[in-house]
Symmetry: C2
Subunit: 336 residues, 2 copies
Amino acid sequence: MSVVQDVLNGSRLALSRLLSQIENSTPEGHAALGELFPHTGRAHLIGVTGAPGTGKSSLVNRLAWHYRHPPEGTPQQRIAIVAVDPSSPFSGGAVLGDRVRMRDLSGDPGVFIRSMASRGSLGGLAAATSGLVQAFDAAGFEIILVETVGAGQAEVEVARLAHTTLVVEAPGLGDDIQAIKAGILEIADILVVNKADRPGVEHAERALRGMLQLAHPGPRVFRHHGALEVVPASQPESTSSESVWLPPIQQTIATEDFGLIELVEQIAQHRQYLHTSGEWEQKTRARMQSEFDELLQAALVERWRASVSDEKIEHIFEKLAQRQIAPRDAVAALVR
Amino acid sequence: MSVVQDVLNGSRLALSRLLSQIENSTPEGHAALGELFPHTGRAHLIGVTGAPGTGKSSLVNRLAWHYRHPPEGTPQQRIAIVAVDPSSPFSGGAVLGDRVRMRDLSGDPGVFIRSMASRGSLGGLAAATSGLVQAFDAAGFEIILVETVGAGQAEVEVARLAHTTLVVEAPGLGDDIQAIKAGILEIADILVVNKADRPGVEHAERALRGMLQLAHPGPRVFRHHGALEVVPASQPESTSSESVWLPPIQQTIATEDFGLIELVEQIAQHRQYLHTSGEWEQKTRARMQSEFDELLQAALVERWRASVSDEKIEHIFEKLAQRQIAPRDAVAALVR
C-alpha cells in the first residue's frame, strides 16, 4: 500500500490524508494503521490538560518551539501536536476557531499540527485520537503533544493515552475549583502554574501543594525553580522516594518564555523515570489493553447484532418497555 | 421468593438486605430485581449534583423534610436518598464519613437513606445505583433523591438516570469554574444557588445566567423568586416557549430553610412538564436502553471469553505487545 510507504518516507501530504481517514474511521484508514503499527512505539506522548483560560495552547506552542530549538549538543526532535476539544458542541467551535496557531512554528517541516473537533461521543474521540497518535508515531515524530480542553472524563482519557501528563493551572482560581480538580490532580505527572506573573500565584501554588499532599500522602519532595523542598508526610509510608515520582510544580509564563527550559527538563526527567521504573512499558501495555477492550466490545456488539433478527429484538424491547422483563433478563433472552 | 414479597410489603429489613445484595452484585440480588421490575416505574427520580462545598447534602435533607411535611391537602410522600460518591478513593471516605445525616428525619419510617462508596469503576457504580433506584421504586418510594459528589462523567451518569436534575452552585466561585462547568450546566433542569446569604450571590447568578444563555440559545424565560424575566434570544429559534423547559435559577439557604418551598414547587412543575411533553416516557426509555446496552456488552464479553482458549488470547496478546499486530487486527483474529 503506497500511502503507508509514503507516510514512512515522510510525506506530509500522505500523512495528512491518512489522518483524515483515521478521523473518519474509514476501512482504508484502519488498514493503513494495521500496516503502520509495527513502526510505532518510539514517540514520547505528552498530554497537556487543564481548564479553559489557563493558557494551555501558548504553553504547548512554546514547548514545541523548545523541542525544535534545543540547546547545543541536544538533538532536534520532530513534534506533532494534536489539539482535542471534547467539550460541548456550543463551546467547541469558538475555542478552536479563535486559535491563532504558532506563528513561530509555521513553515517548519519538523512540526505537524492537527485539531480535532468534538464528535459528540467520548469513546469515538478517544479511539480517533489514539489512531492519530499511532500515525504520527509511525511517521517518526519523536514528541507528540496531545492537548485537551474541557473537564472530567476527557482528561482521564488523555492520561491513559500519554506517557507524561501535564496539568496546567493559572492563578486566580478559587478554593472550590481546587476541590473539584482533585480527580484531575491525581493524573498529573507535572503540575504547571502558567500565567505566573498574575496576582495570586503563590496562593495557587500553595493550594495545589495541599491538594497534591492529599492525593499522594507520604514524604514528598517538591521541585520548584530548581530548589528542593521537603514537605512532611501526612501519613507514614514505606516506599522509597527513589522509586516514586513526585509531581513537581513548575511556574511558567508561556507568553514570555519564562520557565519553559525548566519544564522541558522536568519532562525529560519524567521520561527517564518512566524508563528506569518500568512504567513506560506498563503504560504502553495498559494503553494497548484498553484500546483492545474497546475495539473488542464494539466488534462483539456488531457481530451479535448481525446474528439476531429485528423481530426478536423488537419483541424483547416491547416487553422491556412494558416492564414485563428486567434489562438483565432481556439481555439474557437475547444472548441465549 | 419471600424477600421480594417482603420488600413489596414494606419491610425495611428485607429492603436493606436486598440493597446490599444489589451493591455486591450477587445472583440473588439480580434475581430479586428481575422479579421486582414489573413493580417499578412510578417513582420520580431526582438527581442532585454539584461541586463539594455547595451544601448539597443539607439541601437534599431539607428537600426530604419538605416532602415529609407537605402543605395541607398535599399527600405526604415516601423518600429514598441515595448518596453516591464516585470521587477519587482518597477523598471518598472523608466526604461520606463526615456526614451527619439528617437529625430531623431520623426515626421517620417514610425515609430511607443509603450511602454508596466508590467502587473505582464508574460503570459498575452506575449499574449499582440503577439497581438501588429500581429497588426503592418497587418498594413504593415515590421520590428518590440521588446525590453525587464529584465532577465530570459522574454527573452526566446521574442526569441519564434522573427525571429531574438539580445542579447546585454556591457564591464565591471564580469565573474559571463557570467555564469548566459548561458541560454540567447543560444537564441542569433546575439550577440552585445555595448559600445565598454569602457575598457574591448576585455575581454567581449572573454568571450562571450567562452560561445558560450559551447552553440554550433562543428566547428564554427565567423564573426567579416567582417573577418572570425575559432574556433576549442570542439567536433566532422557532421553538415555542411552551414546549421547551427553561431551567429556572432558584436561590436557597438550606440551613435556614430559605427557598425550599419554591424549589419543591419548581420540581413539581418540571415533573408536570415531563408528563405533558412526553419527555418522562422518553427519559425512561433512554435509561432502559442505556442499561440494556451496558449489560449486553458485559454479557457478550463474558460469553466470548468463555469461548476462547487462554492460549489463543496469550498468543495474540504477545503479538500485540511485540507490535506485530495492531489492536484492531488482534480483535479481528480473536472474534473470527
